[in-house]
Amino acid sequence: MSARSEPLRRRLVTVLLAGALLPVGLAGCGIPDQTEVQVDGRGPAGESGSLNGSGSQPPTRSATEDPKEFIRDYLAAAAGEREQAYDRVKQFIANEAQGRLRKKQSSEVELTVVRLLESPESRLLTNQGLWQVKVRVQQVGVLRADGTLDAPAARETEYVFQLRPADSGSQGLVITDLPNVLLLSDEALRQYYGTHTIYFWNSDQNRLVPDWRYLPNAVPVERRVTEVVRWLTGGPSEWLAPGVTKVPDGTAPINNATRSDDRWEVNLTMPAASDDRLAKLATQLAWSLPELSGQLDLKIQNQKRRTVDLRQERADHPVYPTLRAPERFCVYDGAIHPLAIASEPVGAVPVEGDANRNVVSAALSRSGDQVLAALVTRSGQQQRLLVGTGPNPVNVFNGSSHAYRSIGRPIWLRSADVRHPSGLVVADGTLYQFDGDAGMSRVAIPGQVPVSGSVTAVAASLDGHRIALIIGGALYVAPVTVDGGEVSVGAPRPLTTRLTRLTAVDWYAENQLVFAGSDGRLPAIYQTTVDGAGEYALNRDTGATVSHLAAFPGGAVGPLPSLSYMYQATAAYRNNPIGKIERAQVRDVAADAKPSDPSAPFFFY
């Protein structure tokens, strides 16, 4: 064991050890349990700046000492994005009263929309600055999370608030007692919300039916697409639901619709998404997003299934059949005569001369090349409906089997089904449908319509699937479906108006109604939206009860200045331009006709 071999042995031991350790090292060279942070590069840079949405924001609690002003602000505070509605409203409420208003889930937030009938009344209760404010209101409806304004649920006509000065440190007032609903005035609704029309297919999937929605102005434009998609997949307004088809069950948007370079992308889940369904949905989207004109990619479960050129889609699939220029007519001396007002085109009466006698009122409509004519004629004390269809001029008329004491103005439903023309008419307080052969049958009106009230007027929208009714002097809208000539009416939704004892109504625009009634003292003509929220007076004093009201609803698509209507009160009147319909404006009057007043003016389109 010399000293010489000692290092040799040590080296040998080292080598042996290394050999033994190798497998250990090998076992350790798998994926490590933990590594250092490795940077792959810079992330994407953001584009800053805010969106050009918003518009005006609802008022916050101001420092006003005027309780009436304060309550007005309070009634507007809930407007805007509904998630923060409670937070905004609670700024107005004293700490001790915060519990009165229980917070709900964002999707359950409902705003009770009321119309202030008069300015709030305030009363000082104590010397410590305790106020009581009474607000007399009319229930307009319930604004739901999906932007629909449903028929009012509450019946209160008066809300009472108590106010006290704000705690030291801040100015103004706070509410100490309040109704436990989120209130929104119709003014605030108009001011802080935008209205959007979206379209649903009718039950035959051949006609788009407008639905009317509210969206806070605070929502940026970019998000409106998402909202529209949500609305479309969420289904129509409650009242409209019986008349239209929903998108297939289970259809729901996946996240937001996004835009890149003027190209929108909508991702949906849709069970059994056939091309046909997608095509229908594409048309719905195109019309529901009228402000967009670019491309829209429709993805189903992340798979791009259809690309829609929105402008092209709208051009290819119009909502309504093209309208010809409307022609004005009136009844003069028991016969239909054209009216010549200003430089508008004057049409020829599309009714053969023999039938054009003893006419009380009439409804003319075009359906393709056909003319649909419904005339209410008088014979003695009785009135009878004559209906004729055919090419212009119509010469074959059928009379209704029954005669009635009084028949209101008939209307044609502009159904897509041209083979089964049908219309509605009110006779002796009952709603009837009639067909091309003047066969009249009663139309049942479902729902809890006051039985005592009788139907006095009916009007149909341009799409032919919504009607406005006056039942018992109150205004209703209802969906209508025509199935093989059989008309069925859905449950009517009441519209709240300032007017009472309504007498006449017509469809004024796509989502606007014009109606006549009494504001309590004077007969007046008002206009309102299809949900009754946006009401204002067109004519505060018509001089006499309006017995007849006809409007041209195609303003948006037709050549006539929009929002045109004519009515008969003491005489026949018109707007656009406003004025009385003079005898001289009646054309084709036979020389031997005895002078009378023009009456029952109407549009032919």
């Binding site: 190798l22 090998l26 994926i31 490795q38 590069g41 992330g43 994407p44 700046g49």
Partner: protein
């Protein structure tokens, strides 16, 4: 083996310590024995060495390759996963960015819904279908407004390290491998993070992809590589063993043959197979053995002839010498009648004839040794009377030269199994020499004994021996001073014969001497005939001998330093200091 003491025993600890020590000692002893055994095997077996070295070297090589391959595989797997996830992350970040760009305020409540939806969308909806990928969106900057969301809903915070969060918050796309428990079992995750720019600031998107599959694949590959490597190493070891065996076996045969040859079996030969190198070795070996055998036989013959010659010459000389002797005796008896010069010649003749006879006797004795005819006639003998006898017989000579013979003998008998005739001859020779060279100073004979050996030393104080002469004195006809004429007895063969006698006993005969200090001879013999000697009961160097430098002081140190001559060492008593120091 080791039984742990009951834990509640209070006396366990003190008792445990000695037990542990004992165990340690046993273990250390075994280990040392094992190590020694291994070491011996290592030194003795070429095959073991070659196989071991082959195993170690091939292990290193194969292990290195295996490590490289396994490492590469793991890296590829990881890189693939990273590439996949990065792609997903980029797409996800784009998507999330588009989604969140619709919001300009973190407070907007629908933002949270969008985050939920985005996370679910990116995670692929159904957690059962997403193979464990977890997607998370966090918004550390807007903690008050935006809640982090994860899909599937698991707690991912512990998996996203603070460093990664900081890196992503700084606007980097970064990743990290982390191990954690999300769905019940501990898994490695590749955590990838990317910032998602929005109009109101930055939120962070994380993908957590489980690496279980990659890990399993890597483990599989590793196991395969290790198994293959191990098999390869074993194969190489076997191969090395086989090859070594092919080489070592003939070498072992050669070694055995050489051993037999050296043991005197001169006709041993190796078997020659084939024509390869080993066959050449065997042939050469055989040729060498043949040559050696021939040479040895020749030398043996020559040696035999020489001894025979010496023996024959001695015998042949003895017969005429006997005749000459008788004549010389006659002349010597009648010398008084001759004139003094002739009488003187007769005396000289008588003396030289005595020496001649002695010389012949010694020569015959030597030739008997050389011929191997010397026989040991051992019997248990008390050596004390032997010494007395020798001393008495030489007393006359001693008296003549004025040398006192001192005896230092034990009181008890010293019994050893020896041939008394030969021992006496050796002693006579040694004491005679001592008396002759004693220069009138006392000669001391000492007898010592221990369990295995007896020893006799003979000390004189004559001129002594020069360095190197201790060996030469045993040579035949050696003289310290060749120019000096042989005056006294001494044939020059006495010490040679004594050495042969000692060897015949299996004993030693050694000499010590120093100029001016006299000399000492020591005869050491085994107590039992045939035993091997290891030590001697008496010292060869006498106690009164002085070292060349005078010797160290009692208890002092020796200083060893460079000497005067080249490469010589100087040894002397250390000076002044009582510390041992080693000079460089």
């Amino acid at each position: 083996m080791v039984t742990s003491p009951p834990p509640d025993s209070p006396t366990a600890a003190p008792r445990r310590l000695p037990a542990a020590r004992a165990l340690w000692r046993v273990l250390a002893g075994r280990t040392a024995r094992l190590a020694a055994g291994v070491h011996q095997t290592w030194r003795r077996s070429l095959q073991v060495r070659v196989v071991s070295i082959t195993l170690v070297a091939s292990s290193l090589l194969v292990g290195g390759f295996a490590y490289l391959i396994a490492d590469k595989l793991t890296n590829i797997l990881l890189e693939n996963a990273e590439t996949d996830v990065l792609l997903r992350l980029q797409n996800g970040s784009d998507y999330a960015s588009k989604q969140f760009n619709l919001y300009s305020q973190p407070q907007e409540a629908q933002l949270q819904d969008t985050i939920d939806g985005t996370v679910n969308y990116l995670a692929g909806g159904d957690p059962a279908q997403t193979s464990g990928v977890v997607v998370a969106i966090t918004a550390d900057n807007f903690a008050g407004y935006i809640e982090s969301r994860t899909s599937p809903d698991v707690q991912v915070r512990p998996l996203i390290s603070r460093e990664l969060r900081a890196s992503v918050a700084a606007g980097n796309v970064a990743h990290q491998v982390r191990t954690g428990t999300l769905d019940g079992q501990r898994t490695k995750y590749l955590v990838y993070g990317s910032p998602v720019p929005t109009r109101f600031g930055q939120v962070e998107l994380y993908y957590l992809v489980p690496l279980a599959r990659q890990d399993a694949t890597a483990a599989d590959a590793r196991a395969t590589v290790v198994a293959t490597g191990a098999a390869l190493v074993l194969l190489l070891g076997l191969l090395a063993a086989l090859v070594t065996r092919l080489v070592v076996t003939p070498v072992r045969v050669a070694a055995r043959t050489a051993q037999r040859l050296s043991a005197g079996l001169l006709d041993q030969r190796m078997v020659v197979n084939g024509e390869d190198d080993l066959a050449l070795l065997a042939a050469s070996f055989n040729q060498m053995a043949t040559n050696l055998q021939r040479q040895i036989l020749r030398l043996e013959e020559m040696s035999r002839l020489q001894r025979r010659f010496t023996s024959d010459v001695s015998h042949e000389l003895r017969t005429p010498l006997t005749t000459v002797r008788m004549a010389a005796d006659l002349i010597f008896a009648e010398r008084d009648e001759f004139d003094p010069a002739v009488a003187r010649s007769a005396e000289l003749l008588q003396a030289e004839l005595d020496r001649f006879e002695e010389l012949l006797t010694d020569l015959l004795e030597i030739s008997r040794f050389d011929a191997g005819f010397a026989m040991l006639d051992s019997e248990p003998t008390d050596l004390v009377p032997v010494v007395h006898r020798v001393a008495e017989r030489l007393a006359g000579l001693a008296e003549r030269v004025g040398v006192a013979i001192e005896l230092d003998l034990p009181d008890s008998p010293v019994i050893a199994e020896v041939d008394p005739r030969r021992v006496e001859r050796v002693l006579r020779n040694l004491v005679g020499n001592a008396v002759e060279h004693g220069e009138a100073k006392p000669v001391r004979i000492t007898l010592g004994m221990d369990q295995s050996a007896v020893a006799i030393t003979v000390r004189d104080h004559g001129v002594g021996l020069k360095p190197g002469e201790e060996k030469l004195v045993f040579n035949r006809f050696w003289r310290a001073d060749p120019s000096r004429a042989r005056q006294t007895g001494g044939t020059g063969l006495g010490l040679s014969i004594s050495l042969e006698d000692a060897r015949l006993h299996g004993g030693w005969l050694e000499a010590w001497g120093a100029p001016g200090q006299g000399a000492q001879f020591r005869l050491t013999l085994p107590v039992r005939a045939g035993d091997r000697l290891t030590t001697s009961p008496l010292r060869l160097v006498p106690a009164d001998a002085t070292l060349p430098f005078g010797g160290p002081r009692d208890g002092g140190l020796l200083a060893i330093g460079p000497g005067t001559g080249a490469g010589a060492l100087a040894v002397g008593p250390a000076e002044g200091t009582d510390r041992a120091e080693v000079a460089p």
